[in-house]
């Protein structure tokens, strides 16, 4: 028995060794870095890289490898075996010339999502770095650790990624407060991508004021996010209504919706004219504010604007039936959901792509959903139909095959001009009628003045690099500089990954700068409304130093979900939400000495003078009333 147990123990040890040596090590072949050299090989100006590439061409001749025209061709060689031979030849030549091994190149880790666009963005970075610095660098994503909690826990434990992606000002605040975010203000200013280069409304998502009130830059936008109102042009045309050119009111939108719903035989047979406006957004659009303009010391959410916004929101569902109720939205959702704004919203593009909804609130990133719908429903069948009429040797057939393969591989990649022209020529009038024709207009609000709460999806550097690995820190800083580069920002706009964060690379004379030829029907995704939203109507997220965004959301959502369910009047909801926020702020302030000192300095009143649940003359006196009364110096509570 003892021998058996010892044998089992030995087997376990052996398996551990095998796992450690064979399974755990990352597979690194240096192929991505080699491809970066090939990508820049034709036009790179950096002398070292130029010399290396010229030498490699000669080296290939010596090795008897087939001659090639441009280095760029090697990246996309269809013959995979030959491509690998070029890569291997380059790796050995690189080692011979530099004394370094390609697979030892520094590889940064970027905690971001598993979006296929990241591959393109990383390839661009490797190439950009070679052009700018003449040195190779590698980068990989870490999608499983993208979430904020993991980023913080792993970083404070010393195992965090080099570059941490985050969403918005509240996550930035958590990362800065945790001491994880590196201050890059000076480096960014020196290299021309300071905070002033970012859209003003998105700046709170990358920078924070220090104790002295000075704005310090910690991150740079990967993109900036907000949603507009997307609509089906054909449904509007059939109902005889025109899309607004500027801001519009919720009532105007509702009348448009009624016209669409009352039109006989409306294409797509929509179930609701409108979807995906959140209660909170409706209130903000009406002018609601969580906090006064000048301070985050208390909430002023209970306002006529909030009530008007919430009432309009509720009436859209329960009075006018313009928008589905939560249960209806959940049912319509293919994925089902816990509530509005969660995965119900995730299904909205699908419903909209079916024309089951005429207008919905969505982002520019949803281009890809509709592009795929158009490709699969109309474009590829049209190409196949035309191909069946042509002989294999026909030059048009070759172009169509190129277009078809590229569209199916990645619908966002721009086609060569000839292939693009060829497939567009296949589309008949009937085909074009079957395409989704989507326009973008401003989000309707109670007042008719558009409002957009904007934030950035940003990236920052793990401060541990400063202490542990200065060399990696250098490369990580360069990555942030790359996020501010023209190459990266054009890629974001050209692939409809929302819009880029740097103003100068974002806007052109027609609106958002994008690819020269959007897919048929989807030209609206370059509409001026996207830039108008950012430049004229955008506001950063409203935050307070006295209450976390997570708790603020919880408190407000608990109330707003009851408005959604028509269980609470807008008046009560606004009052309850405000009081709940203020109670939390007061509790937080009373518990933390530093926070208390700051709050009392800011308001000029003693927080202990406030009474939660105070009643005077049989009436409740809210904390806000008490605070404002004390701030005005009018009597103690």
């Amino acid at each position: 028995m003892r021998a058996l147990l010892l044998s089992l123990f030995a087997v376990l040890c052996a398996l551990t060794v095998v796992a450690h040596t064979l399974v755990l090590p990352e597979e690194r072949d240096g192929g991505a870095v080699t491809d970066a050299y090939f990508a820049v090989g034709d036009d790179v100006e950096h002398p070292e890289v130029r010399a290396l590439m010229d030498g490699f061409r000669a080296h290939c001749d010596e090795l008897g490898l087939p001659a090639f025209g441009r280095f760029g061709e090697l990246v996309t060689l269809e013959d995979a075996a030959l491509r690998e031979r070029y890569r291997a030849a380059f790796a050995s030549y690189y080692e011979l010339q530099t004394g370094r091994v390609l697979t030892d190149t520094v590889r940064l880790v970027w905690s971001t999502d598993a979006n296929p666009a990241r591959e393109v963005q990383m390839s661009l970075f490797r190439a950009w770095h070679l052009r700018e610095y003449g040195q190779p660098v590698d980068i990989t994503t870490d999608p499983s650790n993208r979430e904020l909690t993991k980023s913080i826990v792993q970083s404070v434990a010393g195992a965090g990624p080099d570059i941490i992606e985050y969403i918005g000002a509240s996550e930035l605040r958590d990362l800065v407060d945790a001491g994880i975010a590196l201050d890059i203000t000076d480096y960014a200013s020196e290299h021309g991508f300071g905070v002033e280069t970012v859209f003003e409304a998105a700046r709170s998502g990358v920078a924070r004021a220090n104790e002295a009130g000075e704005m310090r830059l910690y991150g740079y936008p990967c993109n900036v996010g907000y949603t507009v109102c997307l609509y089906h042009k054909d449904q509007f045309a059939q109902a005889g209504v025109s899309a607004p050119t500027g801001g519009w009111t919720i009532d105007e939108m509702r009348r448009v919706g009624e016209a669409i719903m009352s039109t006989e035989g409306m294409v797509g047979n929509p179930r609701f004219p409108f979807m995906n406006l959140g209660a909170g957004d409706a209130a903000l659009g009406a002018g609601a504010r969580f906090f006064p303009e000048t301070t985050g010391a208390y909430s002023v959410y209970n306002s006529p604007e909030t009530v008007a916004g919430l009432r309009a929101f509720r009436d859209l569902m329960y009075v006018h039936r313009t928008m589905p109720r939560p249960a209806e939205a959940a049912s319509m959702s293919a994925s089902t959901a816990g509530g509005f704004g969660s995965d119900v919203a995730g299904s909205a593009p699908g419903l909209f792509a079916q024309r089951a909804i005429s207008m919905y609130i969505g982002g520019r990133w949803e281009y890809v959903t509709f592009a795929i719908a158009n490709r699969d429903r109309v474009i590829v069948p049209a190409i196949d139909r035309r191909l069946s009429e042509l002989t294999a040797a026909d030059p048009e057939a070759a172009l169509l095959r190129t277009a078809r393969a590229s569209l199916l591989r990645d619908v966002l990649v721009p086609l060569p001009e000839a292939a693009d022209r060829a497939y567009r020529a296949c589309l008949t009038e009937e085909d074009r009628a079957g395409l989704l024709h989507i326009g973008a207009v401003h989000v309707p609000t109670v007042t008719g003045i558009p409002y957009y709460a904007v934030t950035a999806r940003g990236a920052l550097i793990n401060r541990a690099l400063e202490r542990d690995d200065p060399q990696r820190l250098t490369y990580a800083l360069r990555f942030l500089r790359y996020l501010g580069s023209e190459a990266y920002n054009e890629q974001i706009n050209g692939t409809y990954d929302s819009i880029c964060g740097r103003v100068e690379y974002c806007v052109d004379e027609d609106g958002v700068s994008g690819p020269p030829r959007p897919l048929p029907g989807l030209e609206g995704f370059d509409a001026p409304v996207f830039t108008e939203a950012m430049l004229e109507y955008a506001d950063p997220w409203q935050l307070s130093p006295y209450i976390g965004r997570g708790r603020l959301n919880t408190l407000v959502n608990e109330v707003l979900e009851r408005v959604q369910a028509n269980e609470l009047t807008p008046e009560h909801a606004a009052a309850r939400a405000e009081e709940a926020i203020n109670r939390q702020i007061i509790a937080n302030v009373r518990e933390g000495a530093r926070l208390r000192a700051r709050w009392e300095r800011e308001t000029g009143i003693d927080v202990d003078a406030l009474v939660v649940g105070l009643r005077e003359g049989g009436e409740d006196v809210s904390l806000r009333v008490q605070i404002e009364r004390l701030m005005r110096g009018g009597g103690a509570s």
Binding site: T149, V153, V156, I180, E328, T336, G338, L351, A356, Q584
Partner: protein, 472 residues
């Protein structure tokens, strides 16, 4: 055996135990005690870490005070209520487990092949007839010439006509009947082996896939549950509208009277048994709990019957053909109940059923033989033999289910409602405090320890009264 040999054996035993012991100390006992220490501090991951120079402060019992009577009290007690609410299904689940185990351990299928064949044929015929009836009732008939495309929740994003949607629903009904028939047939052919496997199956799959499946079933409009309920509650609506309202009020009154009579009889019988020393205090308390549950059920049903005429009138006034089906996971009224119902379904056929099967198989057959000789019926056999003999098993199941209930709910809430619609439970609250709401590890640890205290207290109470029950 010599002393040296014993020492050697002990040493080897320790050597082989060591990995487990070390693992337990490092990964279980260690963190548990560290969390106790953390609960007495203001530890926050964002304020106290390797990058920060601020010191963790000892705050004594402040975190506990904050939870139990301070700024977090309202939230804590609210979530405690939610946790207890979700545990409401535990007694039902235990009763269901017992019922299933009794069914499975009884000789359901006939043993003689000829009888087995006859019963199989009967099941097949009943299934075929039922399926035909369902098809006749639900089939939409031939497709109309002009039928607009509607959104089909069943089919995701494809464009289906109303006729096609009705056909899918009808087919689902027929398939459902066929499925039930197939289960019955398998039961006849393979007996309890099949049922044990079938009833235990949800436990093998329990977890995320089950929760997602139930989430789909609960879809308010088009989910299988509401699709099945819709015709029933619409039928009730029709019946209520076509009958005088006073009839429903009378029915409610009769229900209350009958319920009250039954409850009083049960209490009186319990008092008599207690007085005559035929049963102990624990048994009497158990009976009172049963009476209270019954009274609640009767009162609830009576209230529904009483309100039916007004509800029907209100639905008709709103232009509806019938009552609105429940908005399961997207309303505060139904979300918690939906999770409870799912929990009951998952709990009935799980480990509790296996424990009861094991308990039943350990009951000496002589006891039943003696009861048979005394002329005891099935109910008397159950009350006087099976139930007392299963008391230790029941005691164990109640303790484990209570502990599981207090600790549970996290995945269900996270996946099914995201904590919306007043469904946040204590475990989800701990997660929120520790990882999504300020990284307040000290406070989150305090909540965990308060939970521990509650679980410990409830276990002690169970132990105190449960031990008495086993001795009855």
């Amino acid at each position: 055996m010599s002393i040296g040999s014993n020492r050697r054996r002990l040493m080897w035993a320790l050597v082989f135990l060591l990995p487990n012991l070390l693992g337990f100390l490092v990964f279980t006992a260690g963190p548990v005690f560290i969390s106790l220490g953390m609960s007495l501090t203001d530890l926050s991951l964002t304020e106290h870490n390797a990058f920060s120079d601020s010191e963790v402060a000892f705050v004594g019992l402040d975190n506990y005070a904050k939870i139990l009577s301070g700024s977090e009290a309202e939230r804590f007690w609210g979530y405690m209520w939610n946790t207890l609410y979700l545990m409401a299904g535990i007694p039902v689940g235990i009763a269901g487990s017992l019922a299933l185990s009794l069914l499975i351990t009884s000789k359901i299928p006939p043993e003689r092949p000829r009888h087995k064949l006859r019963l199989s044929l009967l099941v097949v015929v009943i299934t075929a007839v039922s399926a035909w009836v369902v098809y006749q009732v639900t089939s939409p008939g031939p497709a109309p010439l002009s039928d607009g495309v509607v959104m089909s929740t069943e089919a995701g994003l494809s464009d289906l006509t109303a006729h096609e949607v009705s056909t899918i629903r009808s087919s689902a009904g027929v398939l459902g009947v066929a499925g039930v028939g197939l289960i019955a047939l398998m039961g006849v052919l393979f007996g309890s082996t099949f049922f044990r496997t079938a009833f235990y199956l949800p436990s093998l799959l329990a977890g995320v896939p089950m929760f997602l499946l139930w989430k789909a079933l609960y879809r308010p409009d088009g989910g299988l549950i509401n699709a099945s309920l819709d015709p029933v509650i619409d039928g009730v609506h029709g019946v209520v509208r076509s009958t005088p309202g006073v009839l429903w009020k009378v029915l409610a009154g009769i229900g209350v009277l009958v319920g009250a009579w039954v409850c009083l009889r049960m209490v009186a019988s319990g008092v008599r048994k207690l007085r005559d020393h035929e049963a102990g205090v624990a048994s009497f308390l158990g009976r009172l709990a049963l009476v209270a549950t019954l009274a609640l059920v009767v009162a609830g049903c009576a209230q529904v019957l009483w309100s039916l005429p007004e509800m029907a009138a209100s639905a008709s006034a709103a232009g509806q053909d019938g009552f609105d089906p429940p908005e399961w996971l997207v309303s505060r009224e139904w979300a918690k109940l939906a999770i409870v119902i799912m929990g009951v379904w998952l709990g009935v056929g799980g480990a509790n059923m296996l424990l009861y099967i094991a308990g039943i198989s350990n009951i000496p057959p002589e006891l039943y033989e003696a009861a048979d000789i005394d002329g005891a019926g099935a109910w008397q056999r159950f009350i006087n033999i099976t139930w007392p003999q299963l008391a230790p098993t029941t005691f164990f199941i109640v303790i484990m289910s209570t502990i599981g209930g207090l600790q549970g709910g996290f995945e269900q809430v996270l996946l099914m409602t995201g904590g919306n619609y007043d469904t946040t439970v204590l475990t989800y609250y701990i997660y929120q405090l520790a990882f999504t709401d300020g990284f307040q590890l000290g406070l989150a640890s305090a909540v965990a320890w308060v939970m521990f205290a509650l679980i410990f207290a409830m276990t002690l109470i169970n132990y105190r009264f449960g031990s008495g029950l086993t001795n009855d």
